[in-house]
């Protein structure tokens, strides 16, 4: 196995779940991810020099200060003010529906790793990072900041997350949209098992403020494929409703329903320039990070 292959394997969510702390997980994911990249997708996007920082894989080679390299034999890139002023907000849905997981990893776990990884990556990019956990209301909020202990604060918040109640994605979106004073990058991690019209309205609200919005819809493979065979009593953790069905009888309708939901989000969010990504919890996290970076570079 090649080195990159081994790194990528480390991004397997199941393996990540075995790693002790959230910080270590985030670092493993991001560094593993970055190690696999041949070039940084990021471009320079400011003019006022702020500081040097060590080169990281993915940084544009053009950003390397070769003079510094000549003096110290180390790669440094220049940082500019505009770059550090980017404010990133990671919103993680902690509603009860996120507690579902079919392969030892719940959607909340996966979302937490993704949020941690993104926060780590953002911090590495010297972005200002904020974090908000919500169900039908905001349950935890770490204000955006670029101070040195910010990442730890976010990761600590992620580590202490508990499953909440019913989801109401629109509500925190509207709250956040009203609280943002400058253009930000908003990453929303949720299963979006809510009223899609309300969700889209909330996202429009965010977009209306000029924010870049990236939506990761986290779904379990079971929710996508509905592989159940035996008659099963399905319990909705949010509404407590129960249904007993013969999966073979409802599979086709269910898959059609979930595909229609995904298609609606994809279609409606494209219309408002929201990056929408469907994430399968069985898939490695690097795909999600790639989505983020590509969006980040495209918007940068």
């Amino acid at each position: 196995m090649s080195g990159s292959g081994r790194e990528l394997r480390l991004l397997d969510p199941a393996i990540i779940a075995g790693i002790g702390s959230m910080e270590l997980r985030a670092r493993t994911i991001v560094e593993g991810f970055l190690a696999g990249l041949h070039r940084s997708p990021m471009k320079g996007f400011s003019v006022e020099f702020a500081e040097y920082r060590q080169y990281l894989p993915g940084d544009a080679l053009s950003m390397i200060d070769w003079k510094v390299y000549a003096r110290n034999d180390r790669h440094y890139v220049k940082k500019f003010d505009a770059e550090t002023n980017v404010e990133c907000h990671v919103l993680l849905d902690v509603s009860a529906s996120m507690g579902y997981g079919s392969r030892g990893l719940t959607k909340l776990d996966y979302g937490s790793y993704l949020a941690a990884s993104l926060s780590y990556l953002m911090t590495q990019q010297r972005d200002s990072v904020g974090f908000m956990a919500f169900d039908d209301h905001v349950v935890n909020h770490v204000r955006a900041s670029s101070r040195p202990g910010q990442l730890r604060a976010v990761l600590l918040a992620l580590d202490q997350l508990l499953l909440g109640q019913q989801s109401n994605l629109a509500k925190p979106l509207h709250l956040l949209a009203e609280s943002l004073v400058k253009r930000s990058v908003v990453v929303i991690i949720s299963d979006l098992l809510d009223d899609p019209n309300k969700v889209v309205r909330g996202l429009k609200h965010l977009r209306f403020g000029g924010n870049d919005v990236i939506v990761f819809q986290i779904l379990d493979p079971d929710e996508l494929e509905f592989p159940f065979e035996r008659a099963t009593k399905f319990h909705d953790p949010e509404s407590a409703d129960e249904l007993i069905v013969m999966p073979s009888q409802v599979r086709a309708d269910y898959i059609q329903a979930i595909e229609e939901l995904v298609a609606k989000y994809d279609r409606d969010l494209k219309l408002v320039n929201v990056d929408y990504h469907l994430v399968d919890t069985s898939k490695p996290l690097d795909l999600s990070l790639m989505h983020y970076l590509s969006t980040r570079s495209r918007r940068g």
Partner: protein, 625 residues
Amino acid sequence: MLGFSLLVPAFLFGLLTIAVPIALHLIKRETAPTVSFSAVRLLRRTPIERTSRRRLSNWLLLILRIVTLLLLVLGYARPYSTDALGADSSPLLVVAVDISFSMTVEGQFNRALRLAEEALRGAPDDHAVAVTAFDTVAKIIAEPSFDRQSAVAKLRQLIPGAGATSYSAGLDHAVKLIGQRAGGITVISDLQFTGWRESNRARLPEKVDIRVVDIGAPLDNMALIQIRPEPTRTVAMILNSGVEVQNTSVRLLLDEQEIARSEIIVLAGETVEVVFPVVLPKSGEVQVVLNDPLGVAIDNSRYMLLKGPEPKSLLVVTTGDNLNTEGFYLEQALSVGREQTGFQVVLIPGANIAPLIQSTNPNNLAAVLLLTTRGLDQASQLLLAEFAANGGGVLIVAGQDVEPAPVNAFLQGTLTLSPSRLTNQERNLIPANRRHTIWRAFGDRLGNLSQVEFSSTMTITLDGQAEVLASFNDGFPALVESKIGDGSVIVFGSDLNNEWNNFPRHPTFVPFVHEIVRYLTAEREMSHDFVVGNVPREVAQRPGFATLAASGRRIVINVDSAESDLKRLSMDEFIVAVDRHREAVDSTMGEPLSEGHDVHQYWQYIFGLMLAILMAESLLSARTS
């Protein structure tokens, strides 16, 4: 009263099995695993079962399973509707009360009524009840019904009769009343030994229970059991069936006037003769009266009718053209042994029959032999019909002088005569019912009748209840008996005057004529001495003298002296006698209990319904499991 009842109620213990599905339901063993699934709302797009409906299904399944068990138990318990079946087909308890005259002793019958009432009230709820009374014959007092009160009311109106006990009459009648049903018979009786006669046999289906209630018997009874006139004296026989020596008086009455009296002592269980030094006249009404205040009253008198021999006329109806030749062979045959038979043959033309019958004492007219219908007008036909209906005998010799029409009218549709048949082939006579009275005297020589050759016959067609006594060898009836009222009419399909056959020249002719006449006159010669239970219908079943309204004939009626004997059976002996009869159960007399109810096969419908519910339960279970 219950609307339904069960043949095998013990199966109701099976209802305890209902606890099993209830317990399983309460345990709520869930077969479908519960999965916490976020996208439940997307499942609602399809028409699927909600949990609430599932819970409903669970209850429905429980109900179906309970109902299935209920039906299973009910099916085995074999229910039947007492309403639907009615008293005609539900189990029946027949209370048969002995009303023989031995029950007339003071206190006996009241005790019998009380015990019968207890038996009626103690009948199972699902049993109809009926009350019958029996002595020599049995009769229904209360028809099968669930109305105990009505049965008791009718029972209380019952009074003892003058007949003798016949257990077989009572039991046979009760068995017939029960018919194909289940049921039982409760016999209320004083258990007289003489109630079982050698010739009596009671057949009881095995499934019909019998219970005997002994009311006890009187201790003392004396009875007059016989009057015997002798050339020089008159003898009366007296039985003391009690346990005490009796000292009593006996009186002899002639035409209600006491003509002799005697004092006697009779030991317990002994029969003594009381001799009256009186020679009774040839006619008159004799009564012997015994003084027995403690015993049965009705057997303290015995009656005798003194009647001298009377001439008996045989009326031979001819055309009147030639009285010397018509009926010649018949008259010659009847003249044989006239001293013994006492028959007086009278040949008359048909036209004179009406005034002759009207002028003749009916008691003296033994039979009418009709050789012709010529001159037989409608009035004569009616007189002949009335004569036959009152027990007279008529022989119609369907020869050449007989027209079918008046005969057919006279025979009232029991058979039809057709015009004579002339055939080239001679026929012979073949007796049909060899056990008939008229053939008994022939014995082994009955076959000789076949030697008679017939050249011409009349066709007899049976329309009603007529019996063929002899046929021609071509199968056509030759001698047919038809009953009209109390009398008999015999039709011979040929002549008896050597015209259509050679019968008069055969040795069998004389016995043939004698036996037919003897048979036809038997009703007229019958005894004027009757026993209670076998008296003519128009006469009350009471001992004494009576006159038959139709004929004016005087008869005498006595009680059956066997009933005066108080010797008793034990209940075991009674039951053993019945058990002996049980061994010879007649397959036509009642079916086993269960079979009787299988006519109403509710269990089949119940099991059918149960299977349907099981199928529904399976479908519902498959949909929810």
